[in-house]
């Protein structure tokens, strides 16, 4: 297991946004969390990635070859360092930095050079900086963005920006990639490419993937297991074909085309 969440609860004042949710992800799985708007999916995500400090429950995570450790309440940068990397629903790139620099920043948490190294530019620092550029280029190549390396991130087409966010997350060397609505705003062609990319990353990069998504076709097509939330509570979980038929889920999604 790479992620084990138990009875996770998050209160905002009197509002319980996430209510005793259990969820786990095994190594190499692609798992989706779905639910109507306001169901608490993003809040759940933000608790796991350290953006919010959960009110109650337990979150454990660890590389497949290592022991699971509690990451509950850790600050975001430490969770990233632990090996969980995320993307954002509304793209959050560094718009004026180049594509290459965006990915280089992702490498940051794996670097060790300090201020004295920066000032004296000793051989170790120089070697590390060269390595960062190389590693970042390799990642861009994998994602198919290397032709844009010198372009400012904000000049990329929308779909490419989404992919750059994934590239940047990959640069942190995660074992679990958390994608917050990765297909939002994409056209069907871009979505198909995204599905391919996610599958390929899982296979080639030894990753597990956890995503929130609204696009039902993508969820049903891509994920191996699905969790469904409504009003902060987990209402169903299981294989896509089972979840699709679940009357509770259909009721929660009433009117929405689950079978699409």
């Amino acid at each position: 297991m790479v992620l084990d969440v138990q009875k996770l609860t998050m209160d905002f004042g009197g509002l319980r946004a996430v209510d005793h949710v259990d969820l786990h992800i095994k190594h190499g799985e692609i798992v989706a969390l779905i639910g109507p708007n306001g169901a608490g999916k993003t809040t759940f995500f933000n608790c796991v990635t350290g953006m919010y400090k959960p009110t109650g429950g337990e979150i454990g995570a660890g590389r497949p070859e290592a022991e699971i450790q509690s990451i509950k309440g850790l600050r975001p940068h430490l969770i990233t360092k632990h090996g969980l990397a995320r993307t954002f629903q509304n793209i959050r790139l560094f718009p004026e930095m180049t594509v290459l620099e965006n990915v280089m920043l992702g490498r940051d948490c794996r670097l060790t050079s300090g201020i004295l190294g920066a000032i004296f530019r000793n051989p170790r620092t120089r070697a590390e900086e060269e390595q960062v550029v190389k590693d970042s280029l390799v990642i861009l190549h994998k994602i198919g963005l290397e032709n844009w390396a010198n372009e400012a991130a904000m000049n990329l087409p929308y779909g490419a920006q989404r992919r750059l966010e994934i590239a940047r997350a990959l640069a942190t060397e995660p074992f679990l990639l958390l994608l917050d609505e990765p297909a939002a705003g994409m056209n069907p062609h871009e979505t198909r490419q995204l599905v391919e990319l996610i599958r390929r990353l899982r296979d080639e990069e030894n990753l597990s993937i956890f995503l929130i998504e609204h696009d039902m076709s993508l969820v049903m097509n891509l994920s191996e297991r699905i969790y469904v939330m409504d009003y902060g509570k987990l209402i169903a979980s299981g294989k896509p074909e089972d979840v699709k038929k679940d009357p509770v889920v259909i009721k929660a999604y009433l009117g929405e085309d689950v079978s699409a």
């Binding site: 560094f94 004026e96 992702g106 940051d108 942190t172």
Partner: protein, 383 residues
């Protein structure tokens, strides 16, 4: 047309309001000895016409700024020319040869300065260079670290910060940091005290030249360090932090550490210059480090151009040298200063010299070689 009239009417109101406000101090003068009142009506007229005129110009400029798209006026044309001009200058400066020559020329001029000018001018220049360093130091905090700081003068207190930094970065405890901090401060005061130490009998003139060169060396050192920091891992963190700090921390950067680093490194220069200042004036008291000092330093950064090394340089020189050479207008100094700041904020919010970030770019050859190596690693090369 009606809009123009409207603007004029507003300007008229402004001038009336000003006349009313300044009436008691500008028009009435009571002679307490003779017990008579003098009415200075000409003053009223001057204020009325003056404020009306300024108001009209101001409104016109603001309008131009608002409707930049369809702007054809003189002001905007001048602005365009200046903009295009700075771009051209920027392009010329990017040529390495020109750059080296320019830097060399500036350096030569700087070295020759104390020998070509009187002690008075050298002294003024020392003060100006002091503020260059202070500005550059504060610039690390504001321009690079993205934090507003209005108490920079406090950093003059070198001891406190040498302790804090030694403790933060090297984990050295208070008792050990105490002598090291003192040693650091001492090192610089020694440098200044060198002439006495070796029994060199320098006249005042020579001492001034000596201090000038210390200051020049510190300026060069500051620029060097700032430049290195900008193009490093920490520099990248600072840029990313300013562009999107949530994404930045989600990518594993400790915001607290990055900010503290900027603050700490920025403070060092304050302390450094503080020691030199103290040694030079041989007298300091709390009045040397007032909020006003901080405001001036802040102004050099904002006026010069946040984050831009040449900008801060120019800003500090302008703010420090102008008042000295405009002594005859000393009483209007604050007025000019305020007007300058407001005007700059409206028309050139990024300062005299806008920061041009040097983005990390790779050449096609570099790209090819890395990608090829990667493919060979994977054994995917088929040709």
């Amino acid at each position: 047309m009606t809009q123009r009239l409207n603007e004029l009417r507003r300007s008229l109101l402004v001038s009336l309001w000003f006349m009313l406000l300044t009436f008691p101090i500008m028009v009435i003068r009571v002679n307490t000895i003779t017990g008579t009142v003098r009415w200075r009506w000409t003053n009223l007229a001057v204020i009325g016409i003056g404020s009306f005129f300024i108001s009209v110009v101001w409104r016109y400029a603001m309008q131009r700024k608002a409707g930049e798209a369809q702007a054809v006026g003189i002001l905007s044309r001048v602005g365009e020319r200046v903009g295009a001009g700075t771009k051209k200058i920027g392009a010329v400066l990017d040529i390495p040869k020109v750059r080296t020559r320019l830097v060399g020329g500036l350096l030569a001029a700087a070295v020759a300065y104390p020998f070509l000018n009187s002690m008075y001018h050298t002294n003024i220049m020392i003060t100006a260079l002091t503020y260059v360093v202070l500005g550059l130091g504060l610039n690390i905090i504001i321009g690079l670290g993205g934090m507003l700081h209005i108490g920079y003068a406090a950093f003059y207190a070198i001891g406190a910060y040498s302790y804090a930094l030694l403790n933060m970065y090297f984990g050295i405890n208070f008792w050990l940091a105490l002598p090291i901090g003192a040693a650091l401060a001492g090192l610089f005061s020694l440098l200044i005290g060198l002439p006495q130490l070796f029994g060199i009998d320098m006249r005042l003139q020579q001492t001034t030249v000596f201090v000038y060169f210390i200051m020049l060396a510190v300026v060069i050192l500051t620029i060097f360090v700032v430049h290195r920091l900008e193009n490093s891992r920490i520099g990248r963190q600072w840029v990313a932090m300013k562009e999107d700090y949530i994404a930045c921390q989600a990518m594993g950067v400790s915001i607290a550490k990055a900010k503290l680093t900027a603050l700490g490194i920025g403070a060092i220069w304050g302390g450094l210059v503080g020691v030199i200042f103290a040694a030079r004036t041989t007298f300091i008291n709390p009045a040397s480090f007032t909020v006003w000092e901080s405001v001036i330093i802040l102004s050099t950064v904002v006026l010069g151009g946040m984050g831009s090394i040449p900008g801060v340089f120019v800003g500090a020189l302008v703010l420090m040298l102008l008042p000295e050479y405009l002594r005859p207008f000393a009483q209007y100094r604050m007025l000019i200063f305020g007007a300058l700041l407001v005007t700059m904020m409206v028309f050139r919010p990024s300062g005299f010299i806008k920061k041009r970030r040097k983005a990390y770019t790779i050449t096609e050859a570099e790209r090819q070689s890395v990608i090829k190596a990667e493919l060979e690693d994977d054994g995917e090369v088929e040709e």
